[in-house]
Symmetry: C2
Subunit: 333 residues, 2 copies
Amino acid sequence: MSLESELPLVGISEIVAAGRRFGGLIRRTPVLPLDGAVTASGGRPPELLLKSEHLQLLGSFKIRGAYNAVASLPEEVRARGVITFSSGNHGKAVAHAAALHGVKATVVMPRTAPDVKVDGVRALGATVELVPPERRDVYPYELAERTGAQVVHPFDARDVIAGQGTAGLEILEQTPALSAVLVPVSGGGLISGVAVAIKTLRPDVKVVGVEPELAGDAAASLRAGERAVWPTEDVYRTRADGLRATSLGTLPWAHIRRLVDDIVTVSEDDIDRALHCLACHGKQVVEPSGAVAPAAFLCGRYIPPTGAGPVVAVVSGGNVDPAVIASVLATPV
Amino acid sequence: MSLESELPLVGISEIVAAGRRFGGLIRRTPVLPLDGAVTASGGRPPELLLKSEHLQLLGSFKIRGAYNAVASLPEEVRARGVITFSSGNHGKAVAHAAALHGVKATVVMPRTAPDVKVDGVRALGATVELVPPERRDVYPYELAERTGAQVVHPFDARDVIAGQGTAGLEILEQTPALSAVLVPVSGGGLISGVAVAIKTLRPDVKVVGVEPELAGDAAASLRAGERAVWPTEDVYRTRADGLRATSLGTLPWAHIRRLVDDIVTVSEDDIDRALHCLACHGKQVVEPSGAVAPAAFLCGRYIPPTGAGPVVAVVSGGNVDPAVIASVLATPV
């Protein structure tokens, strides 16, 4: 028995409390039908529904966890500000959550970060500190020690997991008849929170993670019963740029091994086909990372039993270069 | 005083009855926020919200009117089937509404119709009759006389207008604080129904029609106080292929002159900019006709007073060739 399996999991009450903290500032995103999914999956229903976090504030689910983390800090800690080191959706989310609370956010980025990402975070009112790439994961903690500011980890933190779990609560309220929920996996924060919500309230509903084959460390971990770490150059092969964590977080791994039914993988072609189907039939523009969960259903990587209720796929984000979608739409599938 | 202005308008009770007839078969489409609209419109809010009929069954609002028209027919009339002559979204809607009622639908199309449209209607279970283009508007009535089937006009019919009006009822329930609703105009069925719902229940809310400049017969009609008819070759210049009616219907004109506050026009460039903004910021794939109402807000053709409540634009449909959206997304604006 490893230490990890003894970590206390996030509880449903923490997720309910997170939802209360939102106070209407975070969106209750719609669950949208995916017309044409039946054809694409080559069979009759179960129906595929999209929990549409690409329509969330800032275009991804990340604001749920970031907001809860900032809102949960004791007043005197929060006053010293927050720090994070994601240059993607989580970085923006922390910047915005801090702005909503009137506190300072520092986002640490590698010097190699493209200007557009740096400008995007600055536009949300955060301070960006550029560091050598190898210092990116260390510097935030040094800075925190020096300034007393709080690091908000993108996935390996209770408050973040509890915040992400609010998406799971909403799914249960919005689609009571569901038979399974498909959730993208990277560091594992989102699926951990969603799994707590679903398995506490509806243990009969399957919780299935979805990863790109090319960044399949979580699927490998669940198969082996031991947390795998993949080389950075391996996980960077996937076009799903939000799912390139090299391993699960410690706390997410504890949740996943105890609560998640399965983790399946999708190919890069599956992701393209899903992006195309989501745009043409679902009328939704989604980022590649946001398409992996629907891809698992559409491309037969998760096949629900005949007669099962609707499957809900979490579309985690929509922040994509328009040129990517243009090229997907221009290519017949 | 013309005869038209004496036509009795559709009443709110007919719209409420239409909504009851739907019995859950027609979707209550979501009202989605349009992030980034603020930037695109060059000012601070009022907020733009999208009544998302591109997410309606079959991808457009047309099923509302078609379903209500078929459902309202006396049993013995309905049993003889229905006929229509639209090869676009209304044709599909009538085919599907008939199928839901287990009755025969005939869709009359010009021999010049592309195979993909003919196949699309046939796939919904309707019979397609191909006629010379000049016979397209006459033949359905001859056929109706011969067979006893009922013609379901795309816009010049009470039951169709009442069905479309259910979208207006939903908007009021979904966005009680709204200050205005923007509605695309072609034959005028949708705006007529929406205007009855809004002006009966909330006369303080503005109802504004939106047309392409290149098919601006309704705006010209409202200005002149007299129904204008534009040449077919003129209205066919707009890329908004669902808005090429050469004039308003008689019954819609009676509604519009009495209930609609204004009709504004948008350029083809405005439509392109709106398609781009809807995809990039709203994450929504929309057909050009569906983009005209948001375009009026985004491009300053409808400017709400400072401090006004949210503006709801009806996105009427999403049935668009993927290549069109690909080309819009590939072109920076």
